[in-house]
């Protein structure tokens, strides 16, 4: 911090350089270290309300429980619906109710860690709150971020929310079985995603049936 006194001698010009998002980023890095110490890979699942985040996790848990020891942290405003659904697929689930917050942050995830035995797992899914805007500003310490979008969100959702995809490692375009009814071209969404982030891994899925889950598993290298 630098203090500069002005000519009048009574006006202090103070350099603060306090970055409010940095605090969360630093906490996220600590989370990452803790996960690495326990050899746990964590995946942050983001997407709008109703896009299929919970279904994605359920399908991944079902397919991967043979070769991974899996837990999930389910973020939700007030209900335990998502946590119970994921739990039914066989993973150990910690529910984080954010109350009114629109996103999970690194601190809430750290608190959830204390409820988990990290020694007993090697794969952790973190289901973020359904929102395409706020979670992007709050890294949680996960190794990978996957965004779920669905054709029912319409043809313009990628171009309207481009910045969420900048930090994504993989994207699932979900509900592809409804693309014709919705008049949405899945290939066009994919092209737009690849303009925003060349090389982004894209899986086309229908999580009602589980179609495309293997593609997502491959995209995430699981």
């Amino acid at each position: 911090m630098k203090v500069v006194e002005s000519d009048e001698g009574e006006i202090l010009d103070i350099e603060l350089n306090e970055d409010f998002l940095r605090r969360n980023r630093e906490l996220a890095e600590e989370n990452r270290k803790l996960l690495d110490q326990h050899n746990v890979r964590a995946i942050d699942v983001m997407g709008s309300i109703g896009s299929g985040k919970t279904s994605l996790i359920m399908h991944l848990v079902t397919r991967l429980s043979g070769r991974h020891k899996i837990a999930a942290i389910a973020g939700d405003l007030t209900t335990t619906i998502d946590a119970e659904r994921i739990s039914s697929s066989g993973a150990n689930v910690i529910e984080v109710n954010t109350g009114r917050e629109c996103h999970l942050d690194a601190n809430l995830v750290r608190k959830a860690f204390s409820e988990l035995n990290l020694e007993e797992i090697d794969l952790l899914f973190i289901e973020n709150v359904g929102n395409l805007i706020c979670p992007a500003d709050f890294p949680l310490g996960a190794h990978q971020r996957v965004v779920v979008i669905s054709v029912t969100e319409g043809p313009y959702m990628v171009v309207k929310h481009p910045f969420i995809f900048i930090d994504a490692d993989a994207v699932a375009i979900n509900k592809i079985d409804l693309s014709q009814a919705m008049g949405v071209k899945v290939e066009q969404l994919e092209q737009q995603l690849l303009v925003i982030k060349p090389g982004l891994k894209v899986a086309k899925t229908n999580f009602m049936t589980g179609e495309g889950t293997e593609g997502l598993i491959e995209a995430l290298g699981l």
């Binding site: 603060l16 940095r22 917050e101 171009v159």
Partner: protein, 125 residues
């Protein structure tokens, strides 16, 4: 969407600093918001003005700048703004996380993620 929480944190830091220095008044607050953050400068201003009401920061000049994102390319050494691909049909501009010089997708975001209170001016007795 989390402008209120962020503005509260900004107001706390500014008012704490002012109290520590026994200031009579906060004259100005300079804030930089990264173009890749999801904070709307107008909403930060709106909430800050409310948070500063009935405090010594009431009426402080709020200088809020939006910082354009900058990337660097380890491959060819490019350093500069993030390329925006313009599509006049829809009136939208798509950011593209790739090097405008060599096309590499292995670029590093250097600027545009933060929300920083850079400096404040205090009137001290």
């Amino acid at each position: 969407m989390h402008e209120l929480a962020t503005s509260e944190a900004i107001a706390d830091v500014v008012l704490e600093e002012a109290a520590k220095r026994e200031a009579k008044k906060v004259l100005s607050v300079q804030i930089e918001i990264g173009g890749l953050s999801f904070l709307n400068p107008e909403q930060v201003r709106f909430w800050l003005e409310i948070k500063f009401e009935e405090t010594i920061a009431h009426g402080a000049k709020l200088d809020i700048k939006l910082i354009p994102p900058e990337i660097s390319c380890p491959g060819c050494g490019y350093k500069g703004t993030l390329e925006m691909k313009d599509d006049p049909v829809y009136h939208f501009v798509l950011p593209s996380l790739s090097c405008p010089l060599c096309g590499s997708s292995k670029v590093v975001v250097e600027k545009g993620r933060g929300c920083t209170v850079n400096r404040i001016k205090l009137l001290c007795p």
